[in-house]
Structures are given as C-alpha cells and as structure tokens.
Amino acid sequence: MKKNWLFLSVLFAVMFVLAACNGGGGTEKGSETDNKGKSGEKETTKVEENLLSSEVTNEGEAIKGGTLRVGLVTSSPFQGIFNWELYEDAYDKEIMDFATNSIFSTDGDFVVTDQGAAKLEVDKDAKKATITLQGDYKWSDGKAVTAEDLIYPYLIIGHPDYTGIRYDDDFKNIVGVEEYHSGKADTISGITKVNDKAIQIQFKKVSPAIYYGGDGLWGYAAPKHQLESIPVKDLISSDAVRKNPVTLGPFKIDKIVNGESVQFVANEYYFKGKPKIDKVVLEVVPPTSIGEALRTGKYDIATSFPTNQYDGIKDLSNVSVLGRPELAYSYLGFKLGKYDKVDSKNIFDEKSKMNNVELRQAVAYAMDIEGVSEKFYQGLRERGNSLIPPVFSFYDETLEGYHYDPEKAKELLDKAGYKDKDGDGIREDKDGKKFTIRLAAMAGSETDEAIVEYYRQNWKDIGLDVQLTTGRLIEFNAFYDKVQADDPEIDMYMAAWGTGTNPSPKGLYGEGAEFNYSRFVSPELTKLLDAIDSEDAMDPDKRKKAFRAWQEYMSEQAMVFPTFFRTEVIPVNKRVKNWDASYATDTKDNLHTVELLADEPLK
C-alpha cells in the first residue's frame, strides 16, 4: 500500500527501491488519450490502448497440485531481505508477494476495502483509526494472528535502532512515535490494543491518504512471536528475515538459495483457503535469456519482464502476453528556480531562462512523441496527457496534453518573441541574443541516445537549438545529483516518476518538496495541491474534482509535461489456467486460486 510517489529510475533496475506496496487493486481504466481535433504535420496512427489484454483463461482440466515456475528477470542477485518493514529492493518485494504479510485488500483505486484480513475504520473527527482482524487467522507456522502482531511492525519501524527508510514524516504522524524513537518511551502511546483482534491508532492529523495506507498507517502484520526475541538492530541479518520468515500469505518460504532462487510451498493456514497448487519455484533469470526461457517453457510467468524484449516473445505460441499500465510516467521538466536547503522550500525564479509558458509549450508541441512511441516502443509506451497515470479514477482523460504539432510550436515561439533574426535557422531570444537550451538526459538502454537525438532534431525543426548538458547522456547517479542540485547547466531535463498507489502529488510538486525539481511554485498551485489532500477531499467526488483542477493547471503551465505512459508486460505460459493482471482483481492477490493444466510448462 503506497501512500506517495515513487521515483522511477529508468536506468538501473537494481537500484529501484520500492517501499511498502501491496499489489492492491486498480481497475484497468481505458486511457483514452484524446487524439481528436489536433493534428500535426504528421498524423500518427493512434496506438491501440489495450494492445495487450490483462487477463487470460485457458481451457482444460486442471491437474492436482503442481509447481508454478516463476522467472524473476534481473541481471543481479536479489538481496534477500524478506521482511516488509526492512526490505528496500523492489525484487525482494516481488518475491515476498507470494508469501505476503499484507492485511488489507484494496480496490481499483488502491483504496482499502473490507475484503482483506483486516478492516480499517477511520474516525476523522477524533483522528483515530481502528484496525480489526476479521477472523481467526493463523501464521504459516500455525500460531494465531493477534492484535500484538498488528502493533509489532510499528514498534520495529519506530525503534531507535531502526535504520530503514520508513521512519519518515508520515510515520511520525502517529501520536507518541517520536518519544518512542528517541528512547523516552518504551512503547508508542498512540497505539493501543482494543482487544485480541483489534488495535486503535491515534494520529496527529488524518487526510484522504489514510485510505491508501498513508498518514503513517502500516498495511502489514509482523509475526511478533518469531521476531520479538531478536533485537531490532540484529533483525536485518537474522534468520527470521533471511531464511525462515513466518508469513501470512498463500505460500510460505521453504528453501532459499541466496540471491538466486526461492522455493515456496502452499501455506495450509492461509486465511483465504489452502492454495490449489503445491509449490512455487522462483528463479532469477538474466534479461538476456528470458525470451528463450519462455519459449522453451522453463517458466510459467515472468515478473519484471523487460519491455524492450517484447518483440522476442509476442509471437510465441505457448505464451500469452498480458499487459497492464504501469504506475508511472516519463516527463520533461524545466528548471525554473532553486531549492533552498535551509528553509526547505522551492524558490521560483521569475527571471529564469525557461520561464515563458509559450516557450515551454512550444518545446512540448515540437516533440514527436507519438512517432517515438511507435518506432521505438512498439506502442508499449504511449503519449502521456496528464501527470496522473490512467490507472486511477482521478485521471483526466479529457485533457488534451501536447500532440506533435510543429506549426503550432512555431506560432507560439513567434508570438512569444523568439525569432530568428540573423537568418541561420536558429531562433534568438527576445532580446535578439543567441539562444541555446541545455537538456539533461539519462543514459539507459541503447535506444535512448537515438531518441534524444530525434527530439533534438524535432526542436531544431522549429528553430530551437538544444544541446546536451555535459555533451552526452548522463549516468543515473550523476544525473540525479545534477538535477537535485539545480545545476546551472540544466535548462530542462528528461526523467520519470513511478507513482505509488496514492497519487497525491504534493510530494512531487509542493512548495516544500525537494523532489519538485522544476522548482516551480505559485500560490495557485499550492492552493490546488492543498485541496487534494484537504479534509474536504475525504469525499471521493470532491477529491476527484480537485485532482482534475490540478491536472489542468499543470498542463497549462507546462513547467513539467508528461511524455509517456508505460505498459508493464507480463508473459504467462498457457498451462496456467487463469491469470488476471489488472490491479483490481490481480491474481497475485489471489494466488490460492491458481491452477495448472499440465505437469510442465508448455513448450
């Protein structure tokens, strides 16, 4: 259950760090990127939105039991921290999903529902939440799940010896956490046990985020009976985390080969019922050979499949390729100010080079994003029109965004006074001085360079001289170092954000947000952002309206504009009877229902 936004590094998958996020729900909303009306010089054919279906059912009689074979695509070994409070690596999470300790279930918008192991009740006036277990549940070792197990994760995260990333501002929203963290209190005063099955949490404030597991709420239980004897500082290296974690989910970890593979067996105590298959074997597969592995039927399903390998598997007869929108978008941002570290706030500079709405819009209109989507991404990435990915119901599908329209871009530049005065085909700035824009772009896959060069050509076509900061694409770490430090060599930058399941944009575009890399601040923007997280917005309809207003404002100002929405590709072998990848009814949340049609994956 993710409360905020995630930062998506396009580069090293290994460096991705996802914090708690249970693959919740989320209906597959058709993202009807509006393509009517606007047409540029070159009308690109609209890529079919549902290029890939999100669900597959194979006919046939299921075998009894069987082993589901999972390929985890990564080029480096997994870290192996199997604890929801401590893990940091996205691959560890992929593994833990089979034996999850998640207590809440979520719907299509990732809002907590009553279908999970526990129920959430919020009293917004008293700023309290009550979490109640909805039955007599057992851990994978047969011990009962109690209210103590719901409290224990908070005691881990808040502990003075806790060195993870989750002791954050959000978490400090729980009353008494800071006293506990500083060692002044033995326990968190704001968390109380109501009875054996329920706990109550007192918050300093509640916002709509709480329904997404935000505001400090934690969506997982921890097996206190196993962990309490281990000091928090030793937890991360303990066997209870590395080798034999006690879990709640459909499967439990049976054997682990460090960094390489994990064998799960069915958890007979799983509260939704014992899984129909006996085992899950998950192995690390290098991206170079996953296509071949799928073809030869080594795996039933591949997770974190690299989309650039899509061509190699799309025509396989033994594999159904499923897809779903990623919770992410790529974007281009303009540097319009600085971040003041002392006051922790962004300072917008009216005089900055790129502070001209027409200029920014022209940059956006000039980019042939549709063309790149088609030529380089096989339609697996499509032009983004909003800073909210289409998965959410807050997504504004009516938003126009920026189509490829060089004529309009030229018009805008003419209007804004950027004119070519010396006749060399390159426009000068308003005062007639040489005008060069410096773009920072990240080095990633082999096509990145070609794509950036293409965009530079696009800009040149409308008379804008765009040069690369440092003269070439920049390595991931160096890129973010520069962007974060407001390097004067950067006028605009191309990056990506992964969104969590709570799309509240305050952490990315707020006045105090360090991640507001464009540094754009305006009273109007602050007002719009506040409206999204206000107490009023606890009403979903009001929140939706607030979201729309914000999206429109962002699109109009174009201090940051979306370039692509991405599609996640999930290949599934045809011996799996049924697999659903859509967020709302994700099979990963119902693994106990998975059935197989043959003894081995089909070849």
Binding site: W5, F7, T163, V285, P286, E292
Partner: protein, 320 residues
Amino acid sequence: MWKTIVRRTLLMIPQMFVLSLIIFILAKQMPGDPFTGLITPETDPSRIEELRIQSGFYDPWYVQYYHWITNAFQGDFGQSYTYKIAVSTLIGERALNTFWLALLSAVLVYAIAIPLGMIAGRKQDTLYDKSITLYSFISYAIPTFVLGLIFLYIFGYRLMWFPTSGTVDVGVEPGTLEYYWNRIYHLILPAMTYAILGTTTIIQYLRSEIIDAKTQDYVKTARSKGVPMKRIYRRHIFRNSLLPIAAFLGFTITGLLGGSIFIETIFGFPGMGQLFIHSITSRDYSVITALVMLYGFLALLGSLLSDIIMSIVDPRIRID
C-alpha cells in the same frame, strides 16, 4: 629465499596502505551515494538525510578513513549499504561461488590448452597445427558474451543438456551427494565458456616454446646420442616449454577470485564480478573498497607466488 618472501610480504603493507587511501578517496568522489538509490518520493528527504548523518557521510574524509582503516585492521570491513549484511560475509559467499567456477575453468583451460599446444608445437605446420592455430584465433577473437550466449542457447535451451542459470537447484537438499553433483552440473557450462576463451595464450606460448626448443643444443645432443624422439619430447622439450606457463601460475591461482562479469551475468551466477560492478553502480562504498583491497592484495600475492613457483621449477632462477 625465505628472506625474500618476508621482505616482499612486508613491502605489501605500504603498497596496500597507499591503495586503500587512493580507492577510499576515489570512491567518495563518485557522484551520488548509497542513498541516492533509496531516494524515492515515498521516503521523505529528511529521513535520507538522517541516514546519511548516521552513516558518517558528512564527516571529513580522513575521519571516515580513520574509522574504516581501524575497523579493517580488525577484519571488520563494515556493512554493505545495499545488502545490509557484513561485507566479509557477503564477499565470502560470492567468493566461494566464484572460486569453484574459476577452479573448474582453470582445470579445463589447462586440460584443453596443454595437449593442443604440444600437438601444435610438435607437428608444426601440419594440418593439426593449422587447425589448432585457427581455433585459437577464433577463440581469441570471439567476445565472452557472444560465446556465452551461444553456448547457453545451444546447450542450455536447445539441447537442454545443462541448467541455464544459478549455482544450484533450489529443490535439492544441501549436504547430500545429489546437492554437490547439482552444483558441479551448474558449473560446467559457464566453466566451459570461460575455459575455451582462456586457452589461446597458453597454446601459443607452448607452441612457440616447443618450436624454439626443437632447435636447441640439448635437443640436438640428445638426438645425436640416439634418444628416441618421444622420450626427448617427454623428458626434455615439454618440461622446459612449460616454464613460461608456470610463471603465470601464481596469477592464475589468485585470479581465481576475480570473477567475470559477463559470464556471471549471462548465466545468472552470483559471483565476484557482478558484486563488484553492482557495488559500483549502487555506490556501495564499503563493498567497493573491500573488493579493491582484496583484488590489490591478490595481485601482489600472485606475483609473489609466481616468483616462488618459478624458483622451484627452474633451479636456475633464485630470487634472493
């Protein structure tokens, strides 16, 4: 000779010290830090800042260096920022994988290269020689990842003779005979790739040494005495021709822990090469420094070992 060994060993101390200083400073000069990868809008920046302060990130470099070197002397190289376990444990795990892979590869290299080199040298300019030379040119020219992928494709996925990734199947019970066989089984394909690519130097050295030796006076003497050619080859030529190969042996032994990033990545084999590259991209300082120190130490040790081996196999060489 003992005196030399002691002297050389003592000399390693300042060498290692300078190396540690250089690598420590350079590692910290890299853009980003271990927490850059942790930065997600999910975490608030102040928590990251807290973690940086806790880890001593903002201390002056000499203070950090002092902490690190004093701990290192006690065998504590710190915690890996990414893997969250002691660096020594982490390296130990990976080193073991790499060691077995490299050992098998080295055995295979010698098993392939020595006979081929001997045949090529002895039957100079025949079809045998020419085919062997052609083979060594090809294996020299082919990039590691290409051969790795080809082997994986043919023997792993098409013929399905060998497992395609990892060091061992997760299902087998550790400690059983089946377990050890399973591990070896996983090693064969990557080791073969490694071995075939590594044979060229040895074949060519051996070949030219043998061709050289054939015209030497001691061979002529032996022949004139009527010693059979077979015996001359076995007792005289081969022994002498192996000397330059013995000179590499020290490096070969210590090089066993180097690891190969390509082979490890293609065969999904968690070894030292991958650990090194990954620690650099994720700015896992404690692992980077420990690994560079280890590699540096191994290089020094390798040259010492080579000298010692040479003095043993070739009595003409004395290293005092």
